[in-house]
Point group: C2
DNA sequence: ACATTATTGTGAATTTTGGAACAAAAAAGT
DNA sequence: ACTTTTTTGTTCCAAAATTCACAATAATGT
């Protein structure tokens, strides 16, 4: 029903809607949004219908209403406070990544085992890992980004889960195990790039 | 047939196989690999069968042979030279990301419009964007990582395509248009995190 | 040598996902 | 008022992906 893919598409619709809005549009029809995002119009309508969003049978959807709906569904009514664990290359980059702030996602703190990395990166202070538990509890944080090396990932995740984290975006290239009530979504950079390499070669070979 | 997902899984199998190998294993059965990666055993066998990898009807697959096959399929016999365009947070982080080097992917150069960013990051030199075309042609580069801001993404991609890039891993949160012969794979960080936020809330609400 | 067991490889069944098509509804025109 | 046009919402259909299930077969034990 409401699956990973449909939620991801919702985010992408939202993004394109902002773009349409800045161009002065007030209403949008499924067809145009579909083209912008790269899916079919029925897909768009189906997604909206799935989440109870309805438009008008002529004149399509009001952009402001749509954005409001999407923001509500995606919890954008409140600022989402997120921690990042691991202040290496990826972790540090994400601490400064403006895309998050733009979408109301606030990186509230970073954590790392290495005391040398417990400095400040952009607007984010990095604390020693031992402080994670108390910090998460005291601030009621639910979401974390895991950007530590492969072999540290599982133990660090366990600490996060133990502290009460309920959702993790993981960058370690490894399968993590967590209790059901904790949602894990992994971004695997190497496989994604290998995928590009594979298909760009496949395309070339087909045309030879 | 050979779809995006199956190729991504191959990468993940490879990763887990290295892990098994360092633990001293010589052979592996589909069941164990499946468990490690988090898929079903038939999925593993189907994937292998799809790419013409075969095992032994007792005793499973020889790990070394498997890794050799996967490396061949994923083009790991040669070092893959990749450029990164955009030396902001994400781009710079990827230039130093050890995961790529570990998998035989060499970041050979970076490019950016901003002259201030044309410095050196780790082992990677960053050149002005104007030099991209010549560099790509002279070095026969086929793969690029696109890590520029949203509004620069399409024009910069056009430059890359014009220079002969045939595969792109894109981090800009926007739909890109490229000729068929250029493969594009996008990693959208904000939607991925929003996905975690959505489902972690959905899980909590279900249990209330 | 033969029986037994473990495990692959694959065809069939199932589930999931996406797309086409069209009736229902709202707006616009006449 | 009513006809036409546009566009949604939804049902039905197709394709893709996944899992099931089991025959084929290779190793092992007796």
């Amino acid at each position: 029903m409401k699956n990973r893919k449909s939620v991801i598409r919702l985010s992408r619709y939202k993004n394109e809607l902002h773009r349409f809005k800045t161009q002065g549009a007030v209403r949008i029809v499924s067809n145009d949004l579909a083209y912008a995002v790269g899916v079919t119009a029925s897909q768009v309508r189906k997604d909206f219908s799935l989440f109870g969003i309805s438009g008008n049978r002529r004149g399509g959807y009001k952009i402001d209403e749509l954005i409001a709906w999407l923001n509500k569904i995606l919890r954008k009514d409140e600022v989402q406070k997120v921690i990042i664990v691991g202040a290496g290359n990826i972790g540090s980059a994400l601490m400064q990544y403006s895309g998050f702030a733009k979408e109301g996602i606030q990186i509230i703190a970073g954590f790392d085992i290495d005391p040398l990395k417990c400095r400040r990166v952009g607007a984010v202070s990095i604390y020693p890992l031992e402080k994670l538990n108390a910090f998460v509890r005291d601030n009621g944080i639910g979401i974390g980004i895991l950007a530590v090396p492969e072999n540290a990932a599982q133990p660090v995740l366990d600490i996060m889960v133990g502290a009460g984290i309920k959702g993790v975006l993981n960058f370690a290239p490894i399968r993590l195990r967590a209790p059901e009530e904790c949602v894990i979504n992994s971004v695997n950079l190497v496989p994604e790039l290998e995928n590009v390499i594979y298909f760009s070669n496949a395309v070339r070979e087909k045309s030879e």
